[in-house]
């Protein structure tokens, strides 16, 4: 199931690369729209077609990243983390990377605290999304954005 959207992503990339030569101006808005849809599709593939509730999930990112290769991110979900009220999974989703899904973390009541930190790649300025699935099956959504700046001396 997951591979389907990845293939879609690849196809879109090749199309953009082909079109880039003559259609730079029109390609950009098209890409933005397709990317947002991709992120939604990735969330549906991971969690199924359920409503996303806004809240309970916080995403911490720096306001500016001087290189998109490694950006520190912390995702936390509000939960008692008790045997019958806990966070099952947390997904990090990028609307602008070649693959929208960045990682899916499986937690459980034994985690004690629904918080994870890692470092991610960001292919440009974007609003990173996180979705938490609770033990009652409900989905909660949060997001944060980072400006990825361009380096002075690009090599290659």
């Amino acid at each position: 199931m997951k591979t389907l959207s990845r293939q879609k992503s690849f196809a879109r990339r090749s199309f953009l690369q082909l079109g880039a030569a003559g259609l730079v101006a029109t390609a950009l808005p098209l890409r933005a729209a397709a990317d947002a849809a991709d992120a939604d599709a990735a969330i549906r593939e991971i969690f199924g077609d359920k409503p996303l509730n806004e809240g309970r999930v916080s995403v911490k990112l720096p306001p500016i990243a001087e290189n998109g290769n490694s950006v520190a991110i912390t995702v936390a979900a509000e939960s008692l983390m008790s045997p019958d009220d806990y966070v099952r999974r947390i997904a990090i989703i990028s609307p602008r990377n070649p693959i929208a899904e960045v990682a899916v973390f499986k937690l459980g009541p034994r985690a004690g605290k629904a918080e994870i930190s890692t470092r991610i790649r960001m292919a440009g300025t974007q609003r990173i999304r996180a979705v938490a699935e609770l033990s009652d099956g409900t989905l909660w959504h949060g997001s944060a954005s980072t400006v990825v700046t361009l380096a002075a001396c690009l090599i290659g």
Partner: protein
């Protein structure tokens, strides 16, 4: 061989939520970059990271190329009983690396 760093407490009291930090040396090669010869560098990523403690999986991660090179994770678990916490990484081709940390619960 991969170099692995782990930061975890040696002792904890029962029921205490402890922080676990892991860092592993791995390129997490996306498959989208070109090398100095202009050829595409093959994708080479760690796909799963799993932590077992007290005979149970307490944390698991499915990773994509969007995770930065030399992956680092900070997460939590509730101390229950003295025993080994096993951290295991598995790459896309099935190779794996693991490291064990012994926790004493007082």
């Amino acid at each position: 061989m991969a170099t692995i760093r782990i930061a975890a407490p040696d002792t904890a009291s029962a029921g205490e939520v402890i922080e676990l930090k892991v860092l592993i040396q791995h390129p997490m090669e996306t498959g989208y970059r070109s090398g100095p010869d202009g050829k595409r560098i093959e994708r080479d990523i760690i796909e799963t990271f799993e932590v077992t403690y007290d005979g149970e999986t307490v944390f698991e991660a499915d990773l994509q190329p969007g995770i930065a090179a030399n992956p680092i994770f900070t997460f939590y678990t509730r101390a229950t009983t003295s025993g080994p916490i096993v951290f295991k990484w598995t790459g896309q081709d099935g190779e794996s690396w693991s490291e064990t940390h012994d926790l004493t619960v007082e």
